[in-house]
Subunit: 124 residues, 2 copies
Protein backbone atom coordinates (compact mmCIF):
# COMPACT_ATOMS: atom_id res chain seq x y z
CA UNK A 1 0.00 0.00 0.00
CA UNK A 2 1.27 3.47 -0.87
CA UNK A 3 0.34 7.02 -0.12
CA UNK A 4 -1.38 8.43 -3.16
CA UNK A 5 -1.37 12.18 -3.58
CA UNK A 6 -2.42 12.33 -7.21
CA UNK A 7 -5.43 9.99 -7.29
CA UNK A 8 -7.98 12.68 -6.63
CA UNK A 9 -6.93 15.04 -9.42
CA UNK A 10 -9.68 15.67 -11.96
CA UNK A 11 -9.43 13.58 -15.10
CA UNK A 12 -11.46 13.69 -18.30
CA UNK A 13 -13.46 10.85 -16.84
CA UNK A 14 -12.09 8.02 -14.73
CA UNK A 15 -9.59 7.07 -17.39
CA UNK A 16 -7.50 5.08 -14.91
CA UNK A 17 -10.12 2.36 -15.46
CA UNK A 18 -8.80 1.76 -18.98
CA UNK A 19 -7.02 -1.58 -19.03
CA UNK A 20 -5.23 -3.58 -21.70
CA UNK A 21 -7.58 -6.14 -23.26
CA UNK A 22 -10.73 -4.06 -22.74
CA UNK A 23 -13.30 -3.74 -25.50
CA UNK A 24 -13.51 -0.19 -26.87
CA UNK A 25 -16.45 0.76 -29.06
CA UNK A 26 -15.79 3.92 -31.09
CA UNK A 27 -18.63 5.86 -32.73
CA UNK A 28 -17.15 8.14 -35.40
CA UNK A 29 -19.08 10.98 -37.04
CA UNK A 30 -17.56 11.73 -40.48
CA UNK A 31 -17.39 15.40 -41.40
CA UNK A 32 -19.69 15.07 -44.43
CA UNK A 33 -20.96 17.92 -46.60
CA UNK A 34 -24.23 19.36 -45.35
CA UNK A 35 -23.78 17.75 -41.96
CA UNK A 36 -25.36 19.07 -38.79
CA UNK A 37 -24.03 18.21 -35.32
CA UNK A 38 -25.17 19.61 -31.96
CA UNK A 39 -22.11 19.07 -29.73
CA UNK A 40 -23.92 20.38 -26.67
CA UNK A 41 -26.79 17.90 -27.00
CA UNK A 42 -24.41 15.09 -27.86
CA UNK A 43 -22.09 15.59 -24.88
CA UNK A 44 -24.64 16.71 -22.29
CA UNK A 45 -27.73 14.67 -23.22
CA UNK A 46 -27.05 11.78 -25.60
CA UNK A 47 -23.86 10.33 -24.15
CA UNK A 48 -24.98 10.54 -20.49
CA UNK A 49 -28.31 8.95 -21.50
CA UNK A 50 -26.54 6.06 -23.23
CA UNK A 51 -24.19 5.66 -20.26
CA UNK A 52 -27.20 5.44 -17.98
CA UNK A 53 -28.79 2.74 -20.14
CA UNK A 54 -25.55 0.72 -20.23
CA UNK A 55 -25.23 0.88 -16.44
CA UNK A 56 -22.46 -0.95 -14.62
CA UNK A 57 -21.41 -2.88 -17.73
CA UNK A 58 -19.97 0.34 -19.09
CA UNK A 59 -16.61 1.04 -17.47
CA UNK A 60 -16.30 4.57 -18.85
CA UNK A 61 -16.92 6.71 -21.88
CA UNK A 62 -14.93 9.51 -23.46
CA UNK A 63 -15.63 12.12 -26.14
CA UNK A 64 -13.27 13.65 -28.72
CA UNK A 65 -14.28 16.93 -30.33
CA UNK A 66 -12.67 17.14 -33.78
CA UNK A 67 -10.63 20.28 -34.40
CA UNK A 68 -8.34 19.65 -37.40
CA UNK A 69 -6.95 17.28 -39.98
CA UNK A 70 -3.28 16.53 -40.50
CA UNK A 71 -2.62 20.07 -41.76
CA UNK A 72 -4.69 23.28 -41.79
CA UNK A 73 -5.27 22.67 -45.54
CA UNK A 74 -6.86 19.25 -45.08
CA UNK A 75 -10.49 18.86 -44.04
CA UNK A 76 -11.38 17.61 -40.57
CA UNK A 77 -12.06 13.85 -40.91
CA UNK A 78 -14.54 13.47 -38.01
CA UNK A 79 -16.70 16.05 -36.24
CA UNK A 80 -16.71 13.95 -33.08
CA UNK A 81 -15.76 10.50 -31.83
CA UNK A 82 -17.35 8.85 -28.80
CA UNK A 83 -15.83 5.83 -27.05
CA UNK A 84 -17.40 3.25 -24.75
CA UNK A 85 -15.24 0.86 -22.71
CA UNK A 86 -16.38 -2.62 -21.63
CA UNK A 87 -14.61 -5.55 -20.00
CA UNK A 88 -15.89 -8.02 -22.59
CA UNK A 89 -17.49 -7.99 -26.04
CA UNK A 90 -20.54 -9.78 -24.64
CA UNK A 91 -21.01 -6.95 -22.12
CA UNK A 92 -21.32 -4.50 -25.02
CA UNK A 93 -23.76 -6.70 -26.95
CA UNK A 94 -25.87 -7.29 -23.84
CA UNK A 95 -25.91 -3.55 -23.10
CA UNK A 96 -26.60 -2.31 -26.60
CA UNK A 97 -29.10 -4.93 -27.82
CA UNK A 98 -32.02 -4.20 -25.48
CA UNK A 99 -31.45 -0.41 -25.80
CA UNK A 100 -30.72 -0.18 -29.53
CA UNK A 101 -34.04 1.42 -30.43
CA UNK A 102 -33.76 4.14 -27.76
CA UNK A 103 -30.14 4.93 -28.58
CA UNK A 104 -30.48 4.96 -32.37
CA UNK A 105 -33.75 6.89 -32.09
CA UNK A 106 -31.97 9.72 -30.27
CA UNK A 107 -29.36 10.28 -33.00
CA UNK A 108 -31.59 12.55 -35.17
CA UNK A 109 -31.87 14.86 -32.14
CA UNK A 110 -28.24 15.96 -32.59
CA UNK A 111 -27.00 15.00 -36.07
CA UNK A 112 -27.86 13.95 -39.61
CA UNK A 113 -24.54 12.09 -39.93
CA UNK A 114 -24.54 8.31 -40.33
CA UNK A 115 -21.92 7.26 -37.76
CA UNK A 116 -19.23 4.61 -38.27
CA UNK A 117 -19.02 1.96 -35.52
CA UNK A 118 -15.66 0.37 -34.75
CA UNK A 119 -15.13 -2.33 -32.14
CA UNK A 120 -11.54 -2.63 -30.96
CA UNK A 121 -9.42 -4.29 -28.33
CA UNK A 122 -7.24 -2.00 -26.19
CA UNK A 123 -3.79 -3.27 -27.16
CA UNK A 124 -1.74 -0.62 -25.34
Amino acid sequence: MVWCISCQQPTSSDTSKIKKGMIKVAILYPNTEGKTFDMDYYSNKHMPMVAGLFGDSLKLYTIDKGIAGRTPDEPLPYVAIGYFYFDKLSAYHNSFGPNAETILGDIPNYTNIQPIVQISEVLH
Copy 2:
Protein backbone atom coordinates in the same frame (compact mmCIF):
# COMPACT_ATOMS: atom_id res chain seq x y z
CA MET B 1 -4.56 12.87 1.21
CA VAL B 2 -6.14 9.40 0.96
CA TRP B 3 -4.97 5.86 1.13
CA CYS B 4 -4.78 4.52 -2.40
CA ILE B 5 -5.06 0.79 -2.83
CA SER B 6 -5.81 0.71 -6.54
CA CYS B 7 -3.18 3.07 -7.96
CA GLN B 8 -0.64 0.37 -8.66
CA GLN B 9 -2.87 -1.87 -10.74
CA PRO B 10 -1.66 -2.33 -14.30
CA THR B 11 -3.31 -0.07 -16.84
CA SER B 12 -3.05 -0.07 -20.62
CA SER B 13 -0.62 2.79 -20.25
CA ASP B 14 -0.78 5.60 -17.72
CA THR B 15 -4.28 6.58 -18.80
CA SER B 16 -4.85 8.54 -15.59
CA LYS B 17 -2.83 11.27 -17.34
CA ILE B 18 -5.71 11.90 -19.75
CA LYS B 19 -7.29 15.25 -18.89
CA LYS B 20 -10.14 17.26 -20.32
CA GLY B 21 -8.85 19.83 -22.82
CA MET B 22 -5.88 17.77 -23.92
CA ILE B 23 -4.99 17.46 -27.60
CA LYS B 24 -5.49 13.93 -28.91
CA VAL B 25 -4.03 13.00 -32.28
CA ALA B 26 -5.61 9.86 -33.76
CA ILE B 27 -3.96 7.93 -36.60
CA LEU B 28 -6.57 5.68 -38.20
CA TYR B 29 -5.70 2.87 -40.61
CA PRO B 30 -8.73 2.13 -42.84
CA ASN B 31 -9.35 -1.54 -43.60
CA THR B 32 -8.84 -1.17 -47.35
CA GLU B 33 -8.83 -4.00 -49.88
CA GLY B 34 -5.37 -5.42 -50.46
CA LYS B 35 -4.08 -3.86 -47.27
CA THR B 36 -1.16 -5.20 -45.30
CA PHE B 37 -0.57 -4.38 -41.63
CA ASP B 38 2.07 -5.81 -39.28
CA MET B 39 0.51 -5.28 -35.83
CA ASP B 40 3.60 -6.63 -34.08
CA TYR B 41 5.93 -4.15 -35.76
CA TYR B 42 3.44 -1.31 -35.30
CA SER B 43 2.90 -1.85 -31.58
CA ASN B 44 6.38 -3.00 -30.58
CA LYS B 45 8.63 -0.95 -32.89
CA HIS B 46 6.88 1.97 -34.61
CA MET B 47 4.81 3.41 -31.75
CA PRO B 48 7.60 3.16 -29.13
CA MET B 49 10.01 4.74 -31.65
CA VAL B 50 7.62 7.66 -32.24
CA ALA B 51 7.04 8.03 -28.50
CA GLY B 52 10.80 8.23 -28.00
CA LEU B 53 11.11 10.95 -30.63
CA PHE B 54 8.26 12.97 -29.09
CA GLY B 55 9.86 12.77 -25.64
CA ASP B 56 8.35 14.59 -22.68
CA SER B 57 5.90 16.56 -24.85
CA LEU B 58 3.97 13.32 -25.35
CA LYS B 59 1.83 12.61 -22.30
CA LEU B 60 0.88 9.09 -23.35
CA TYR B 61 -0.07 6.97 -26.33
CA THR B 62 -2.59 4.20 -26.74
CA ILE B 63 -3.32 1.61 -29.45
CA ASP B 64 -6.65 0.10 -30.53
CA LYS B 65 -6.59 -3.18 -32.45
CA GLY B 66 -9.68 -3.35 -34.67
CA ILE B 67 -11.75 -6.49 -34.23
CA ALA B 68 -15.23 -5.85 -35.71
CA GLY B 69 -17.73 -3.45 -37.23
CA ARG B 70 -21.17 -2.72 -35.85
CA THR B 71 -22.36 -6.25 -36.64
CA PRO B 72 -20.58 -9.44 -37.72
CA ASP B 73 -21.93 -8.80 -41.24
CA GLU B 74 -20.33 -5.38 -41.63
CA PRO B 75 -16.65 -4.98 -42.52
CA LEU B 76 -14.16 -3.76 -39.94
CA PRO B 77 -13.73 0.01 -40.53
CA TYR B 78 -10.14 0.36 -39.23
CA VAL B 79 -7.39 -2.23 -38.78
CA ALA B 80 -5.83 -0.16 -36.02
CA ILE B 81 -6.02 3.29 -34.44
CA GLY B 82 -3.13 4.91 -32.58
CA TYR B 83 -3.58 7.91 -30.28
CA PHE B 84 -1.06 10.47 -29.04
CA TYR B 85 -1.93 12.84 -26.17
CA PHE B 86 -0.39 16.31 -25.76
CA ASP B 87 -1.12 19.23 -23.44
CA LYS B 88 -1.30 21.72 -26.32
CA LEU B 89 -1.58 21.71 -30.11
CA SER B 90 1.76 23.50 -30.38
CA ALA B 91 3.40 20.65 -28.44
CA TYR B 92 2.23 18.23 -31.14
CA HIS B 93 3.40 20.44 -34.00
CA ASN B 94 6.78 21.02 -32.33
CA SER B 95 7.17 17.27 -31.75
CA PHE B 96 6.04 16.07 -35.15
CA GLY B 97 7.61 18.68 -37.41
CA PRO B 98 11.29 17.94 -36.81
CA ASN B 99 10.62 14.17 -36.84
CA ALA B 100 8.15 13.96 -39.73
CA GLU B 101 10.59 12.37 -42.17
CA THR B 102 11.67 9.64 -39.74
CA ILE B 103 8.10 8.84 -38.66
CA LEU B 104 6.53 8.84 -42.13
CA GLY B 105 9.50 6.93 -43.50
CA ASP B 106 8.84 4.07 -41.08
CA ILE B 107 5.21 3.54 -42.17
CA PRO B 108 6.08 1.30 -45.17
CA ASN B 109 7.82 -1.04 -42.70
CA TYR B 110 4.44 -2.15 -41.31
CA THR B 111 1.64 -1.17 -43.71
CA ASN B 112 0.64 -0.08 -47.20
CA ILE B 113 -2.39 1.78 -45.83
CA GLN B 114 -2.57 5.58 -46.15
CA PRO B 115 -3.59 6.59 -42.61
CA ILE B 116 -6.17 9.24 -41.70
CA VAL B 117 -4.98 11.86 -39.19
CA GLN B 118 -7.54 13.44 -36.83
CA ILE B 119 -6.68 16.12 -34.28
CA SER B 120 -9.23 16.39 -31.47
CA GLU B 121 -9.75 18.04 -28.13
CA VAL B 122 -10.61 15.72 -25.22
CA LEU B 123 -14.09 16.98 -24.34
CA HIS B 124 -14.96 14.31 -21.77
